[in-house]
């Protein structure tokens, strides 16, 4: 679909929504001068399912199957945010058992790991490096196997609920998880070779898609994008939730603020997640309840209140602003996803001057997740 503009001699090209290089169901309307993009407008709404509005018409417990759909590759952050917001408003947070907190931290880290394996594959795939994405998806699948036995579902886990989690760890889970971690670790050097050691990747990722440091706080950038600027911003450290305060880890930062730096942050955070999962499993309480005693979920009411909770997803800071009005249903939920900043505001600012071939790698490096934009 092209259209020439006589006056500026620009070519207009639609990138997406049907394009393998686009991250999810969105599209970017771009204008080209030669093969350089002069400007771009993002178009979202292809995936709009009115999650926030749906939740105003659902019981609290019925919102669980909805929130996980706000980010398919990494649903657990959403589940945790909704649970923790409503626990805070209902006073149930005081009753969440210790074991549930550890299992939640485990699940959150597992989902970060799974999501980062996928997006690192995307980094390579968007530059045409074939085998790496396949391997990464296969590795992610191993994480999904663990999710399957823990939560009963591979992709939509619907596992973290108010008061704790829905099921205990299965017998022998820690050993199988360790096996999975070992497999993933054993493949990482190879991944380093074919992605970070590749001349193609280095040439196309270094110095490309640089986000100026001044934009960091001005635009509300978070996650690997801000950490690739050398700014150690991570909700897990800044405002530790669940068991993160008790875990030993450092915020990963890289310098350069380009696609390469962002990929490197993710590569190092894969290792960090693996380490964290090991720490969590070592400290997991053997006994004890995994969920608080819940009120009757068909009739649960929460007093009037509002709160904002945040968590570090693989893409950056996710936040839920939740308002309750004393009834059985949510009054309002606002989902603050990092993709809105990264995928709309920041992307449109970065596009001018970028080569058309670098647009897909750029979007992957910003880790845009459209359902989060149009929730």
């Amino acid at each position: 679909m092209t259209e020439t503009r006589e006056r500026s001699k620009e070519v207009q090209i639609w990138f997406g929504p049907q394009h393998p290089g686009i991250t999810g169901n969105m599209s970017v309307q771009t204008w080209l001068d030669g093969d350089t993009l002069t400007r771009g407008i993002t178009h979202v709404g292809y995936l709009h399912r009115a999650f926030e509005k749906l939740m105003e018409r659902r019981l609290y417990i019925q919102s669980f199957p909805i929130v996980c759909r706000i980010c398919v590759p990494e649903p657990d952050t959403n589940e945790w945010l909704l649970a923790s917001a409503l626990e805070e408003l209902s006073g149930l947070d005081r009753e969440v058992p210790e074991k549930a907190r550890w299992i939640r931290t485990l699940v959150l880290e597992m989902s970060r790991l799974g999501a980062m394996l996928m997006v690192l594959g995307g980094h390579a795939g968007s530059m045409g490096l074939g085998p790496a994405p396949q391997w990464m998806i296969a590795l992610r699948d191993l994480v999904l196997d663990r999710f399957e036995e823990l939560t009963g579902g591979r992709v939509y886990h619907m596992y973290i609920v108010y008061g704790g989690v829905r099921r205990d760890l299965p017998e022998g889970f820690a050993e199988r998880m360790e096996q999975t971690l070992k497999t993933i670790e054993s493949k990482l050097p190879l991944i380093d070779d074919v992605i970070f050691g590749s001349a193609v990747f280095r040439k196309r990722a270094m110095g490309v898609g640089v986000v100026p440091r001044e934009w960091a706080f001005e635009m509300g950038i978070s996650g690997p994008v801000i950490r690739a600027m050398g700014i150690p911003k991570d909700v897990r450290k800044d405002e530790p939730y669940e068991k993160y305060a008790e875990l030993d880890f450092d915020v990963v930062t890289e310098e350069g603020s380009d696609i390469f730096a962002r990929a490197m942050v993710r590569r190092r955070e894969i290792q960090q997640s693996i380490d964290l999962i090991r720490q969590i499993l070592a400290r997991m309480p053997k006994e004890g309840p995994y969920c608080a005693e819940l009120p009757n979920m068909l009739e649960w009411t929460i007093p009037v209140g509002q709160t904002y909770v945040r968590a570090e997803s693989s893409r950056g800071e996710m936040g839920y602003y939740v308002v309750t009005d004393g009834s059985k249903k949510l009054r309002r939920v606002h989902v603050r996803g990092p993709s809105y900043v990264h995928g709309v505001s920041l992307l449109e600012r970065l596009i001018p001057g970028t080569n058309i071939a670098d647009l897909a790698p750029l979007m992957v490096s910003l880790q845009v997740c459209p359902p989060e934009i149009e929730r």
Binding site: Y156, R166, D193, V200
Partner: protein, 595 residues
């Protein structure tokens, strides 16, 4: 850019010689994990069709469809799942009150016809039926609250010294917390003889709107404070929450709602048409059935008079039920509303034959619910001795204010609620009490809670004991002689096991009183012969049609005389039936005729 970075990616070729770690196709055909959320399975025998699965399904993928004839405690419905909508969240499994619903670990199913992707698990046979694996309910996680809010009660040691009410009653917080456990399945409505609006009033209590709750309650029960205290609560027997946990305290919640108001007349707003203006109805017997007929006819404009032989209305709930369960002020409150509704009440007045004939002449319809007032006899030698008394007489004498003495020790023969009441009253009168029952404890018709309360109060229970005879001893006491029994299978299938005397063994129990409480029957001496001939069956019951009318047009009946369950709520249900029957009968313009 170094040569290294050009060559390094070729390390990928190493993979060509190693075992693939992508998952081979044959391995992906494995079944799901042990707790995988796959296609549903349902144990239809265990399922009661409460519909909580359909309530919690946020996709509205579950419909409750009829699959069998409803029986008590079973709606006859079963969940049908539309897999075009299901999102496999398994909330339906976690909320299931019976634990019958589960998910198998099967997830592949190919079908040409999309219509078939909608089935009733357990009813429509599927290959994964009986699957052991998959998502099931687990200990430690429940979306419903299984434990009841405990009811505060007086200490057993204290309460035997007093006639004060044993049950203290819920506070507002406790009641609302208990009410919030309800899943609104409505199985209780079907089980209640009067079909009270149970989920509605429980919902109103949960929301703190007690006036609304009372309105719902009074819609079809004019003695709710009585039912709230002493009802046999068949509703709780079928409560779906009670299948895996404790049933909702439906009775206590009704009690709570009625206790919130001093004067019901100020808060009730019955919206009824006064269709019965100018019609007269006489009610003989002021028990629950009579009160029901009187109240609902009165609010519809009928002119109703109740005739009661005892000094107070209430029937068995007045003279039979002890005051530590159902105190007088509670009864008076309900009678007070009856008066305010315009019912004329004549107490201390026993209707005899001639008056009955006159009442038939003067009224457009007549209702009688005179109850079972004549105790069954034990039929053993020595029954006529002084000191052998009948529980009904004891309770009645005690409740109308006569002085009653039971001595230091009594034995109560029987296992029903009357036996328990007589025992607990005797206990409070200062006696050591033994209950002798011929079957086993689990066969006792008395309410379980009542039996437990009696035992807590120090009453001894001797089961499988058959009375042989009673003898007078020289010291003035009675010798209650009984023989042990063994249980033999029932004669007919479905019957109760029968006790059979073990010959040759005699046990002795020295007591001051033997109280007989083995049941009671109707008494029709007051009824004109020509009427009794028509309405009373040979077995001493009264038969009525679906409108509550007897064989004699214009004479309606209800209560213990009519139904064999002999509890207050069934009597109220009879009354409700007769209210409709009487309205229909009188408004058709027919007068009571003798033919």
């Amino acid at each position: 850019m170094s040569l290294k970075h050009v060559l390094q990616p070729f390390n990928a070729w190493v993979q060509a010689f190693s075992k693939p770690y992508t998952i081979p196709m044959k391995d992906t055909m494995r079944p799901g994990a042990d707790r995988y959320r796959g296609w549903h399975i349902n144990d239809v025998e265990k399922c009661v069709g409460c519909g909580t699965c359909a309530d919690i399904c946020q996709n509205a993928a579950i419909d409750m469809v009829p699959v069998k004839d409803p029986v008590k405690g079973d709606s006859g419905l079963r969940p049908k799942i539309d897999y075009g909508r299901c999102c496999w969240c398994a909330l339906c499994v976690d909320v299931c009150t019976t634990g019958s619903l589960g998910m198998s670990n099967e997830y592949t199913w190919v079908e040409k016809d999309p219509e078939k992707c909608r089935y009733t698990p357990g009813v429509d046979a599927k290959p994964w039926d009986g699957s052991e694996k998959g998502w099931r309910q687990e200990e430690g996680f429940s979306l419903i609250v299984k434990d009841r809010v405990p009811m505060p009660m007086l200490d057993p040691k204290e309460r035997i010294k007093t006639w004060a009410e044993v049950v203290v009653g819920y506070s507002v917080e406790e009641a609302r917390k208990e009410a919030a456990r309800c899943v609104s399945c409505g199985l209780c409505v079907a089980a209640c003889p009067a079909h009270m609006h149970i989920p509605d009033y429980i919902g109103a209590i949960r929301d703190g709107d007690f006036e609304k709750a009372l309105d719902f309650i009074y819609d079809n029960n004019p003695m709710p404070e009585m039912c709230g205290k002493v009802c046999t609560r068949r509703c709780e027997g079928v409560c779906s929450v009670g299948i895996q946990g404790e049933p909702l305290a439906i009775r206590w919640l009704k009690r709570f709602a009625t206790e919130q108001f001093e004067d019901f007349a100020k808060v009730l707003h019955p919206e009824v048409k006064r269709v019965g203006e100018g019609k007269k109805v006489a009610v003989v017997g002021g028990g629950p059935s009579g009160v029901t007929v009187a109240y609902y006819l009165a609010v519809r404009g009928f002119e109703v008079t109740i005739y009661e032989a005892l000094p107070q209305l209430g029937g068995a709930t007045f003279f039979g039920i002890p005051k530590y369960r159902f105190p007088m002020p509670s009864l008076e409150k309900q009678v007070d509303l009856l008066k305010k509704a315009g019912v004329k009440i004549v107490t201390d007045h026993r209707v005899e034959k001639d008056e009955f004939r006159r009442l038939l002449e003067e009224n457009d319809a007549l209702f009688f619910g005179t109850g079972l007032m004549k105790p069954y006899k034990l039929g053993v030698p020595g029954e006529d001795l002084e000191g052998v008394i009948y529980a009904l007489d004891l309770l009645r004498d005690h409740h109308v204010g006569k002085k009653v003495e039971v001595g230091e020790s009594v034995v109560v023969v029987g296992g029903g609620n009357v036996a328990i009441d007589a025992s607990r009253v005797s206990r409070r009168l200062g006696a050591e009490v033994t209950i002798a029952y011929r079957r086993r404890r689990e066969d006792m018709p008395a309410d379980d809670e009542e039996i437990e309360d009696a035992e807590a109060e120090g009453i001894e229970l001797v089961t499988q004991s058959i009375p042989l005879r009673v003898e007078k001893l020289e010291n003035g006491k009675l010798d209650f002689i009984w023989g042990p029994a063994e249980m033999v299978p029932p004669d007919r299938p479905g019957g109760r096991p029968k006790p059979k005397l073990i010959e040759g063994v005699e046990n002795h129990l020295q007591v001051d009183r033997v109280i007989v409480a083995i049941g009671q029957k109707g008494e029709f001496e007051w009824m004109p012969e020509e009427v009794a001939e028509k309405v009373v069956t040979s077995r001493g019951w009264v038969e009525v049609d679906e409108t509550g009318m007897t064989q004699w047009p214009g004479i309606f009946a209800g209560g213990d005389l009519v139904n064999s369950t002999a509890d207050a709520i069934s009597a109220i249900a009879d009354g409700l039936k007769a209210v409709e029957g009487i309205q229909q009968f009188t408004l058709e313009g027919l007068s009571v005729s003798k033919s």
